[in-house]
């Protein structure tokens, strides 16, 4: 499962998307996020499964705001179609 990783440098700042990782469950996702992205001194760090990110809207046309998420969704749809 792909998890997206967010962090911020200082209290009160907005969360920044800093990367993603593969993990089989939430516990390992936390550990891996720390191991992979803690080279910098963050105030806090968060992970969320990519499929739990909900698109509100997307003004891009063919330029999705979350390209990887969109690509995954398309791949999933293509697989479902070809399987039918």
């Amino acid at each position: 499962m792909v998890y997206e990783v967010f962090a911020r440098k200082n209290r009160g700042e907005p969360l920044r998307h800093i990367g993603n990782l593969n993990a089989p469950d939430d516990d390992l996702a936390r550990v891996y996020a720390y191991n992979t992205y803690d080279e910098e001194k963050w105030f806090d760090m968060w992970v969320v499964p990519r499929d739990r990110l909900l698109e509100v809207f997307n003004r891009g046309d063919g330029e999705p705001s979350a390209p990887e998420a969109r690509k995954d969704a398309q791949r999933g749809a293509a697989a479902a179609t070809s399987g039918a």
């Binding site: 469950d25 390992l28 550990v31 891996y32 191991n35």
Partner: protein, 262 residues
């Protein structure tokens, strides 16, 4: 007069030096065991975790070895010139684990035992260690989480993986429990407030930390009473030997001897 002579009563000076060396050697070896899985762990993220934990342990070892200078030790010799039987690492680290569950068991038991020992130094009367131990413990936070998450994963991924994990934990437990030493050590560091617990009290803290891991693989951690027959309190080992030949060459950096600089 060295700093150590001014802060530590003569009766416990050797005991503190022994403890520092036991911790330093164990962390140096544990770092090496983690590093051996930087390639070949079950997934890329686990390799990164091993690399990160190796860096932490080596950093801690470095810092601990440096403290030995205050005890009049030649740190260069300690790090690069000793024979196997001079090493004071935990016996479980003498040879490389053969499987990933074996490495996870080291992560779960050896790493946690070292951290339990460090915790006991948080309010130490030995200031140089007290001042550094907070940072070390902070860096250890995710080592235990890594072990716990992997044990849970292996326990739930099928009977074979669960059995292998259980066997690896059971194999290491008796030696790690003994490592905390007898309840009435010859030199009591607790009496001099160097540590806030030793012997059975420290063992009990350790057991509390690892009990859930044993339960995860279906073991109701029956805790064997340690057998201290032949136990060397200074090295915290029963066997007189040390790391195996291959480990020794690597941990001393024999192949890099020509490049050593002060």
């Amino acid at each position: 007069m060295s700093t150590v002579e001014t802060v530590l009563p003569a009766a416990v000076r050797n005991g503190v030096r022994d403890l520092v060396l036991v911790l330093a050697d164990s962390k140096r070896l544990l770092g090496m065991r983690y590093a051996e899985w930087m390639l070949g762990a079950p997934e890329l993220e686990a390799s990164i975790a091993c690399s990160s934990m190796a860096q932490d342990e080596w950093g801690h070892a470095r810092l601990l070895y440096a403290l030995l200078r205050d005890f009049g030790e030649d740190v260069q010799h300690v790090e690069h010139g000793r024979e196997a039987e001079d090493y004071c690492n935990m016996e479980a680290l003498d040879r490389a684990p053969e499987s990933w569950p074996g490495l996870v068991a080291l992560n779960a038991l050896v790493d946690t035992a070292l951290t339990t020992q460090l915790h006991a130094l948080r309010d130490s009367s030995y200031a140089p260690l007290r001042q550094r131990v907070g940072k070390l413990l902070e860096e250890e936070r995710f080592h235990g989480a890594h072990a716990a998450a992997w044990i849970k994963r292996l326990a739930r991924s099928g009977p074979q993986a669960r059995a292998a994990m259980a066997a690896a934990l059971q194999e290491l437990l008796p030696g790690v429990l003994r490592w905390f030493g007898p309840d009435s050590p010859r030199t009591s560091l607790a009496a001099a407030a160097v540590v806030d617990a030793e012997g059975d009290a420290l063992r009990a803290r350790f057991i509390e930390r690892v009990r859930p891991l044993f339960e995860e693989v279906g073991l109701t951690a029956v805790v064997p009473a340690p057998d201290f027959n032949g136990f060397d309190e200074a090295r915290r080992r029963c066997t007189r030997t040390g790391p195996d030949a291959e480990t020794l060459v690597r941990v001393r950096g024999d192949k890099n001897r020509a490049f050593l600089m002060d």
